[in-house]
Symmetry: C2
Subunit: 233 residues, 2 copies
């Protein structure tokens, strides 16, 4: 699983496209790539578990993963879905505390892990990296705040509309086509804090009003303006 030496170059090529690491410059990116390890994961595999000790920051070089928060009772909420170029496990760097969520691959994934100590070294030498990291955290806090507000104020249909717009922006094509292999309706339900049957019905309702089209796991946004309105934007 651990990447052989020549992998470092391929890792560096991917890291260079990620804002957080590109701040390091060409030389720094190469050093970062050598300072960590990359692994491949199959769909359904768990990259790390909620509660595990957290000692690394991860960057998703390719594929897709979901961020899952579970309660002791076994209920699950999906906090986010990450694609190529996004990072996770940031909290490990803030304090040494255990992972607050699990990361599960939803399709074949290639992830790069950089140990806390290595990252801190890099930050000392490249203040721009620290800056980028703080930006990252700012975005994280804002997103979580918005998510809480959405749960409080929007109904299921509104949250679903907003979710589809977000997914289209992050993982979709230019024409509103969102292809989501590996993401089931159960996942969508867990993303907006709803039951799976309710999500199904909400999707049907959007289809009936010609706001979206669904075929298999590909969703096409037909009326972005109406969806934005439905989502309170």
């Amino acid at each position: 699983m651990t990447g052989p030496p020549h992998d470092a170059e391929r890792v560096a090529a991917e890291l260079a496209a990620i804002p957080l690491f590109s701040a390091l410059g060409e030389e720094g990116v190469a050093r970062a790539a050598r300072a960590g390890l990359s692994r491949h994961y199959r769909p359904g595999q768990i990259i790390f578990h909620q509660g595990d000790p957290g000692e690394s920051l991860y960057a998703l070089l390719d594929g897709m993963v979901k961020v899952v928060f579970s309660t002791e009772q076994g209920d699950e909420i999906v906090l986010n879905v990450l694609g190529r170029g996004e990072t996770f496990g940031e909290l490990a760097l803030l304090d040494g505390s255990p992972r607050s969520a699990s990361i599960v691959a939803v399709r074949p994934a290639w992830a790069f892990a950089l140990p806390r100590a290595r990252l801190l070294e890099l930050m000392r030498e490249h203040p721009a990296l620290a800056d980028e990291f703080l930006h990252l955290l700012g975005g994280l806090v804002r997103r979580l705040t918005e998510q809480a507000a959405d749960l409080a104020f929007l109904d299921l249909g509104g949250r679903l509309a907003k979710l589809l717009l977000h997914l289209a922006g992050k993982h979709g094509g230019a024409d509103g086509v969102v292809s989501l292999p590996g993401l089931t309706q159960s996942d969508l339900a867990a993303l907006i804090g709803a039951s799976r049957p309710a999500v199904n019905r909400a999707l049907q309702s959007l289809v009936a009003r010609n706001l979206i089209a669904v075929e298999g796991r590909t969703i096409t946004l037909l009326d972005v303006a109406a969806l934005r309105k439905r989502g309170g934007l």
Copy 2:
């Protein structure tokens, strides 16, 4: 409003009791106190507005404030209630982005504002301060995550029970007495994303089962174990 020079000593005395600043040592705390300004606010006054440019980190030296997030439609959710020794406005330091929430005094408050540039200077000289700040952010992210999960999984009664336990821990006496002048039932409702009448009825229900006692705005927790169970702990 701006503190006259001799105030810096009183500010320093308060800052020394705050983990974030105590990391600076006696000398550093004194410098920090001189680098910012403190002001007093009356109940209902707004310390800063959501959407304002954010250029300072605040420390609440005394009193109590609420963190309010508003939608364009005018709906409000109270993200947190802060007491003496807590900080707010952290996001201003991460990026230069506008305030993501408003801060409103719920009782007479004394707050200290430290400009971003000053704080960054201090951080450069005192790495321990940066460490503490990252801890702070970690706690913030964790709390927001939990809040989202609670909205998704707990019913109104559960969220209320959990809220009361939290408030008792932060602002209450040792014996489970939580005195909350300035905090109305509407505020409690906005803290858990519920309507005001529903909160009233939920409180009555807890009283009827002898889990709490209410007199005016003082709530006494009578059966902490049962409350914890009700809140899913």
